[in-house]
Amino acid sequence: MSAKWPTWKELPLGATILEPGNASEYHTGEWRSMRPKTDENVCITCGVCWLFCPDSSRKLAPRQKKHPESPYMQYYDFDFNYCKGCGICARECPTGAIVMVAEEG
């Protein structure tokens, strides 16, 4: 077993977690079997995916070229450390910019 895990003597009493806010260290994105993919040329940066994402795993990324219907030079991409691949963003996206593809390997 990995050396990072505490022994029964080292484990805090009652398995209590002593450091607040450390859930971010647990990369739940490892659970993913489907991966969302955004076409930055279709995304209008409306933020609906950001609003619906249950894991706060949407983040802004710079665009390569200007979108004809959007003043923003950014579009919504993913933080794959936390995206579980639930597909809610793909279902809710009003422009159909997001598609779900199978994770490989």
């Binding site: 895990w5 029964w8 009493l13 009652g14 209590t16 977690i17 806010g21």
Partner: protein, 394 residues
């Protein structure tokens, strides 16, 4: 030993409530259920009358009672509750959480049978179904014990080396509802005996912690190991506390109590209130020159293996009386435990198990004599049944 304190006649349930007051509990969260009701009713009065500075939380169920107790203990409050039977069963899932989170508290369980058929009367069905919850568990034989054990349980439960919840079992009606003389010590003496509770981790908005997180497979085994070691090691603290209690209050407690057990060839083994009746039977049989004694398991969890072996000595037959049954299995939970504990011993006594005293059915002294005679006959014929339902109408 001379009684150190005032001797007062009172119902044992009332004495238990008084013990909670003497122990200076901060929070009581409880739901009434027969035959536990008088304990929490009296505690509600004590708090309402200002005799005890505590929060009394009248919850809507036992599940909520135990949940409130976990929260209260996690906040660092000295916590008490009491229940019986269906109420204990309703607490079931939270009982594991209380011990797993290492939240000390004391609960008096007034032992009663479980439905169906519906019964309010006493036996050990309720507590034996909760054997594996990871709590410290004591069995009281009489009112004084029911009183003393509550005080001792607070001291043990909150001890830095323990931090585990504790149950004090007392038999429904036969013990809870009888009036007995109780030696009441000075209240300050009891409060000096139990130092203020200082939790290791406390629910505190200024210092956020996560209590009860998910125990992923890489953590759960270590958490269980830690908890089990703490429960096993609690015996050291229990023995220390009993030693100090004996010095300060004049009453000595042991994990396994013997009565005329030395040199006995046949030993009755009991838990709880029926032990007093068993003593009468032992006296009668000793008068007839028979080498019969009694051992009583007062400390049930952690199980006191060494003290048990010592108490058994060179006895040839153990007559184990269980007030509960593991149906379709090995019979009495107490006998099963003792048989397993003895398996590797050589020589080991015959263990003859009688299931009796279910749902308030009387076990009288004459019944203990009858069980002893039967057990000896089984042992001599070398055909010991795994268990026998005593006194059942065929």
């Amino acid at each position: 030993m001379a009684a150190r304190g005032k001797r007062v006649g009172m119902e044992v349930s009332i004495a238990v409530a008084e013990a909670v007051k003497y122990s200076d509990a901060d929070v009581i969260a409880a739901y009434p259920i027969t035959p536990q009701t008088h304990i929490v009713e009296h505690l509600a009065e004590i708090v309402a009358d200002g005799e005890l500075d505590a929060e009394y939380i009248p919850v809507e169920s036992e599940h909520s009672a135990m949940s409130a107790c976990v929260g209260s203990s996690a906040a660092g409050a000295r916590t008490f509750t009491a229940t019986s039977s269906q109420g204990l069963a309703l607490m079931h899932e939270i009982l594991f959480i209380a011990s797993g989170l290492r939240t000390p508290m004391v609960m008096s369980v007034v032992n009663r049978s479980l439905s169906a058929p519906l019964s309010i009367w006493g036996d050990h069905t309720d507590i034996m179904a909760e054997r594996d919850i990871g709590w410290i568990q004591f069995f009281a034989e009489n009112g004084q014990e029911a009183f003393d054990l509550v005080i001792q349980a607070f001291r043990v439960s909150e001890h830095r080396d323990v931090l585990l919840p504790a149950i004090v079992n007392l038999d429904g009606f036969n013990l809870s509802h009888v009036i007995e003389p109780i030696v009441l010590p000075k209240i300050q003496k009891v409060r000096d005996f139990i130092p203020p509770y200082e939790p290791v981790y406390r629910v505190d908005p200024d210092k956020p912690l996560c209590f009860g997180p998910v125990g992923i497979p890489e953590i759960y085994t270590e958490a269980h190991m830690q908890q089990n070691e703490a429960l096993k090691d609690s015996k050291t603290v229990i023995l220390e506390v009993w030693e100090e209690f004996a010095k300060k209050f004049g009453r000595r407690y042991r994990p396994v109590e013997g009565y005329r057990a030395r040199g006995a060839e046949v030993l009755l083994v009991t838990q709880g209130g029926i032990s007093e009746t068993a003593r009468i039977a032992v006296d009668r049989m000793r008068e007839q020159g028979r080498k019969v004694g009694l051992i009583r398991i007062r400390l049930w969890r952690p199980f006191p293996f060494d003290e048990f072996y010592e108490a058994v000595g060179k006895a040839k037959v153990l007559v184990v009386v269980d007030r509960a049954i593991s149906m379709g299995g090995i019979g009495g939970p107490l006998a099963a435990e003792l048989r397993t504990a003895l398996y590797h011993r050589d020589p080991r006594p015959h263990v003859v198990n009688f299931i009796g005293g279910l749902a308030g059915r009387d076990i009288r002294a004459v019944h203990f004599e009858e069980m002893t005679n039967k057990a000896i006959a089984y042992a001599e014929s070398d055909s010991v049944p795994i268990y026998e339902m005593f006194g059942v109408r065929e």
